[in-house]
């Protein structure tokens, strides 16, 4: 089973017809999907740095075109940090820890008690895109979501050469 680049681009946009989407979901994954997925993402972004791994709808680990360094970067080109660091520590943060802030997103009495739970929203300092929301107890440290073993993923899972890294 394989798909065209156009189909994968539609998948990324959320505009792929249901019949094809259903087939993708129920069949074993097509071997070339990850490479096609990266191509579709690369075509969408304005920067020239090579995408190594997508982390979210607008967030990527990229290989900088000039230095070959791997960094976590926003759609708009804003660089957060080295890819091994927690990018959230370099983001703009908005914490909803009062009832007034909570009723902006949930009806009154249907939001958590902020003594027990707060929302921490992480934004790109350059373009303002929201990249993540955490819902921890108020004292909890910033969550480091995951540290992907990119080399192993490329080598053992998708059978692609690992991009160069400075």
């Amino acid at each position: 089973m394989s798909y065209t680049n156009e189909q994968v681009a539609h998948l990324v946009e959320g505009t792929l017809d249901w019949e094809t989407t259903f087939r993708m979901l129920s069949m074993p994954k097509d071997t070339s999907r990850f490479a096609q997925y990266l191509d579709a993402l690369q075509a969408k972004v304005t920067f020239t740095d090579k995408i190594v791994l997508p982390l979210g709808p607008h967030l990527y680990i990229v290989q900088k075109a000039d230095t070959k360094k791997w960094v976590t970067q926003c759609d708009c080109g804003h660089v957060f940090a080295d890819y091994r660091e927690n990018w959230k520590l370099h983001a703009a943060v908005y914490v909803r820890d009062t009832e007034e802030a909570m009723v902006e997103v949930y009806p009154k009495l249907m939001a958590p008690d902020t003594q027990w739970q707060v929302y921490r929203e992480y934004y790109c300092p350059t373009c303002g895109a929201m990249h993540d929301v955490e819902a921890p107890t108020p004292w909890y440290p910033v969550v480091h979501d995951f540290e992907p073993d990119i080399e192993a993923f490329y080598r053992d899972w998708v059978n692609l050469p690992v991009p160069e890294r400075a």
Partner: protein
């Protein structure tokens, strides 16, 4: 009447494919069955002497009547007859097709407006959770990501709630607010509704509020000077289960009228060519109804049912009352059981991914068929069949198919089961080398097998899947395969018959010579029968007083009375007199507190006295003992009647089975077409190839042999033998 010149004898010499009975043009053609499928439209004609022909043509969704005409031309060419001569001779014609189903699946019905209880406006859109995975293969059912809710038939924007409430006992606790109904009608008309459906809670228990709403709707429409059809659920499907009742009533409004137009077009074309018969349509309950019938939603699924009805008729002719019906098509394998001469009815089936309250001939399906795609799981390296299939594109062996994934048919072609030059009578030429190459690349090489062994492995896997499924279906219901005769049909059935019946231990295995047109044949066998159902709630202890029994009988009789009016109305619409109609009452009964009811044909024609009640109970207990076990009977729980059923039939012409004289066990030399290498059990053997049409009653053939006709191939491998009987049925046996 103009007939083609030329004697039969001459024609036979020039055209060996034409059936030997050419020339008997004075024998009238009486019965026509139509199976208008998604890809092919099959027609089946039966003469007064029981001889039959099968015709095939490409389906035409734009104008079904044209595909039926083309298919008829194809069929009648075997007899050198013309449509214009034959249509006027026909006395009966039954249609079954997928047009209505497709209309629902493609969401191409009318703009329906819905009136329901206030607060329940979202009920139809939400649907039942299982509707999100109905029709899925098991792997997808348990894979939540694939679950998906279809577009509702009626959007919330065209739904209006009205204040009303009837409780579960049928007591009106909040009366209907009339002004809200009137406002709802005005809204729905403004929204350009083309039909209005009314479905209120518990209306099967107490119809008064819903009927009241219906009258107000009609009154308001009249006052507005608007003419729209109005469908109240109580008038159509007065059964419990709100989602089912609502879906079914909506389906009626949404899809039935457009389907009626399709059927009218078909009927008109018959009339144009001289047809004098009244077109009937196969319905889900296993009977046929007129295309003018009030309830057409029940024609939504009809094709596969035909085979079950045909099996029942054949079973009666052969004296077999327990039959396992197996139909193998391109995408699926359908199994139905006939026990003690009757098939089971499911009262709340699902169709087109909707739960419905329609009586449906019970059938089980597995998504593996003759056209299923074959793939290797990239991780486990195991062979996977389907769930998708090549369908009409056959497989990679057909170069024009545009396919490059191997299908089961490719394996058959490579192993010599199918004749690459005679697929669909030679209409399609198959490329064996192309299939070999794809099997080698995709299956054989990755597994380190030869092409033959890889292909044979695929066939074995399919056969095993099907036979396990068949066996499980019989034993799970508490029966023993040794008590059953297996009927095998469908275009691809006879290729697989030996494979999925081997070792199951059936009493007999029967392959009709007309396997490819069997569903169409079965439709022509069905009674002209209306069936209506109504939910009732009756509960009586084991030792009830005579008064209680008589009261229960009165309630049941009242329900039958309501249904009789509907049934007789339908026949009167078709020009029958009420006294011509044979009414067959039935009921659904269970031990009180148990979950499953059984459908029983009533031993009494009217129910009034305590003695009647006792007979009703006795008939239930006998059936219960047969279906489960005598020792499982639990009369101490008391008895519930959950539904009243009424069937009404009138006499119709049915196909006559052929009765051929016994020509002895040795097949005529003219039937021998040659031989073909055939691979099974790790070796190539030479299989004798026979022409199915040229074989005579009584002929005995020992495998390895392949019996070919235009529309089907019957495989008899080594270790099997077959005899053709006077009805042109092949009986397949394992040689011990």
């Amino acid at each position: 009447m103009v007939r083609r010149p030329g004697s039969g004898a001459e024609a036979e010499k020039k055209q060996p494919n034409v059936e030997e009975t050419v020339g008997h043009q004075d024998i009238p053609v009486q019965v026509m069955g139509i199976d208008a499928g998604g890809t092919m439209t099959d027609t089946f004609f039966v003469r007064a002497d029981g001889r039959f022909v099968v015709g095939k043509a490409q389906s035409n969704p734009g104008d079904e009547s044209l595909a039926i005409y083309n298919s008829s031309v194809d069929a009648l060419a075997h007899w050198r007859r013309e449509v214009d001569d034959v249509y006027p001779e026909l006395v009966t014609c039954v249609y079954s097709g997928t047009a209505m189903l497709n209309r629902i699946l493609m969401r191409k019905g009318l703009n329906v407006g819905l009136i329901c209880n206030k607060g329940f406006e979202q009920l139809h859109s939400m649907g039942r959770a299982l509707q999100s995975y109905l029709g899925y293969a098991l792997e997808d059912r348990i894979h939540l990501n694939t679950h998906r809710y279809d577009e509702p038939l009626v959007p919330v924007s065209r739904t209006r709630g009205v204040t009303e409430r009837t409780d579960v006992q049928g007591k009106v606790v909040i009366p209907l607010r009339e002004d809200e109904v009137r406002q709802a009608v005005r809204d729905l008309v403004a929204l350009e509704s083309q039909a209005i459906v009314i479905c209120l809670l518990q209306s099967h228990k107490n119809a008064s509020s819903e009927q009241h709403a219906r009258d107000i709707v009609k009154d308001e429409l009249e006052a507005m000077g608007v003419s729209l059809p109005v469908f109240a659920s109580v008038d159509y499907y007065p059964s419990r289960k709100e989602s089912h009742r609502m879906n079914t009533t909506i389906l009626e409004a949404y899809g039935a009228e457009p389907s009626r137009q399709t059927l009218k077009k078909v009927s008109d074309r018959f009339k144009k060519h001289g047809g004098k018969f009244d077109l009937r349509v196969m319905a889900t309950h296993g009977g046929t109804i007129s295309w003018k019938a009030k309830e057409l939603a029940r024609t939504i699924v009809s094709g596969p049912i035909g085979g079950v009805i045909g099996s029942k008729l054949l079973g009666e002719a052969l004296g077999d009352e327990n039959i396992a019906c197996s139909d193998i098509g391109g995408t699926s394998f359908d199994v139905a059981l006939i026990t003690k001469g009757s098939f089971a009815i499911k009262s709340d089936p699902d169709m087109a991914r909707l739960v419905l309250s329609l009586p449906l001939v019970a059938m089980d399906s597995v998504g593996a068929g003759a056209g299923s795609f074959v793939r290797l799981d990239p991780y486990s390296k195991s062979i996977k069949l389907g769930p998708d299939s090549a369908g009409y594109r056959v497989g990679t062996c057909w170069a024009d198919s545009g396919l490059d994934t191997v299908s089961v048919s490719d394996c058959h072609v490579v192993l010599g089961y199918l004749n690459p030059n005679n697929f669909l009578g030679g209409a399609i030429k198959l490329d064996v080398e192309r299939a070999r190459r794809h099997i080698k690349e995709q299956i054989a090489d990755p597994l380190g097998l030869s092409v033959e062994d890889a292909a044979a492995g695929v066939i074995e896997l399919l056969d095993l899947t099907l036979s396990e499924y068949l066996r499980a279906n019989i034993s799970a219901k508490g029966y023993n395969p040794a008590d059953f005769t297996c009927f095998s049909y469908g275009g691809a059935g006879p290729v697989h018959t030996y494979g999925y019946t081997e070792g199951v231990g059936f009493k007999d295995v029967v392959v009709p010579a007309w396997a490819a047109g069997f569903s169409a044949f079965g439709c022509a066998c069905a009674d002209f029968e209306y069936r209506y159902d109504k939910s009732v709630d009756l509960g009586l202890p084991q030792f009830a007083g005579d008064d209680q029994k008589a009261a229960a009988c009165a309630t049941l009789q009242e329900a039958w009375g309501d249904l009789a009016v509907k049934v007789i109305d339908e026949f009167v619409n078709n020009g029958f007199k009420p006294e011509d109609v044979l009414l067959i009452p039935g009921y659904k009964m269970q031990y009180m507190g148990q979950l499953n009811d059984l459908e029983i044909t009533s031993p009494v024609t009217t129910a009034a006295t305590a003695a009647d009640w006792d007979k009703i109970v006795e008939a239930f207990e006998t059936t219960y003992g047969r279906v489960y076990a005598s020792s499982a009977r639990s009369p101490e729980l008391g008895f519930s009647i959950t539904g009243a059923i009424l069937r009404g039939t009138v006499a119709t012409q049915k196909p006559v089975l052929p009765e051929d004289p016994d020509a002895g066990p040795v097949p005529p030399e003219s039937a021998r077409l040659g031989s073909r290498p055939f691979y099974r059990h790790k070796r190539w053997v030479d299989a004798t190839v026979w022409k199915m049409e040229a074989l005579k009653a009584g002929n005995h053939i020992v495998g390895p042999a392949i019996i070919e006709s235009d529309a089907t191939t019957f495989v008899v491998p080594d270790g099997f033998e077959t005899t053709i009987d006077k009805h042109r049925l092949f009986h397949l046996k394992e040689v011990k």
